[in-house]
Subunit: 150 residues, 2 copies
């Protein structure tokens, strides 16, 4: 299971890197069912001028309509915000694997309280991509907009 | 204020009717700032094959990137699901006006606990559009898919 988690997180991280290369926020996500990728996505807020296009949301949008999510796992490079946490609960995704919660804490206890199995990898590469992004001029402001911090 | 609420809810309801006319779920939303419409939208799950395109999400997407939502009000014909509730919290929308919570309860206490001012209009026209939709063959299944009920 650990190897699989690292493999899928590497895909989510590649999505994050792609997002940064395109001038966006470096946060990626992958939806997996039975060890197979259903969809991968990344934050497209800047690229599409779309405030709801967080990495997890872009991934779920790309997955299209699914009859059920009860047998899926969502991988995300960064701890989910309340929009994405609410979506995980609404869709009934039973397990979420999070790359890191240092650059953004999210609300992991809330997810766990509501019955989601959360694995926090505390992955150095996931932290590093956000750090590199935030170190560039102007990006801290973009990040605060992304998480709706005044 | 009550007149304004009814006026904006009528716009949200018109969005819901448009959604049903297009073969989709009849749920509409309007984002308002200082008495002016920022954006209006409706559920596009069926039309775009997009599981995250609930009415509120479509409206917020159409509003585009906003510096802040602290001075906005979100109108929605139907009580928000957890995805949309999480989004309301994440974006810091301080007030939500809900047409009805009979066809879908949502979690209004959760929104209130987290500091959102919620007005429930218990509007007969909002109830009616959902009732008409659900009465059509096959639509109950579509609705269960929309709210991710197995």
């Amino acid at each position: 299971m650990k190897d699989a988690d690292q493999r899928f997180m590497a895909l989510a991280l590649a999505e994050a890197e792609q997002g940064m290369a395109d001038g966006g926020l470096p946060i990626g996500a992958v939806l997996v069912r039975n060890g197979e990728v259903v969809a991968a996505g990344h934050n497209q807020r800047v690229q599409h001028g779309d405030p709801i296009a967080h990495g997890e949301m872009d991934c779920l949008r790309k997955a299209g309509r699914q009859r059920s999510y009860r047998d899926t796992v969502l991988y995300t490079t960064l701890s989910p915000c309340m929009m994405c946490s609410g979506t995980i609960l609404q869709f009934g995704i039973p397990r979420v694997v999070i790359g890191e919660a240092e650059n953004f804490e999210g609300d992991i206890p809330f997810l766990r309280e509501r019955g989601v199995e959360v694995t926090l990898m505390d992955d150095e590469d996931c932290k590093d991509v956000m750090r590199r992004f935030l170190a560039r001029p102007g990006n801290l402001e973009l990040w605060h907009e992304d998480i709706a911090e005044d």
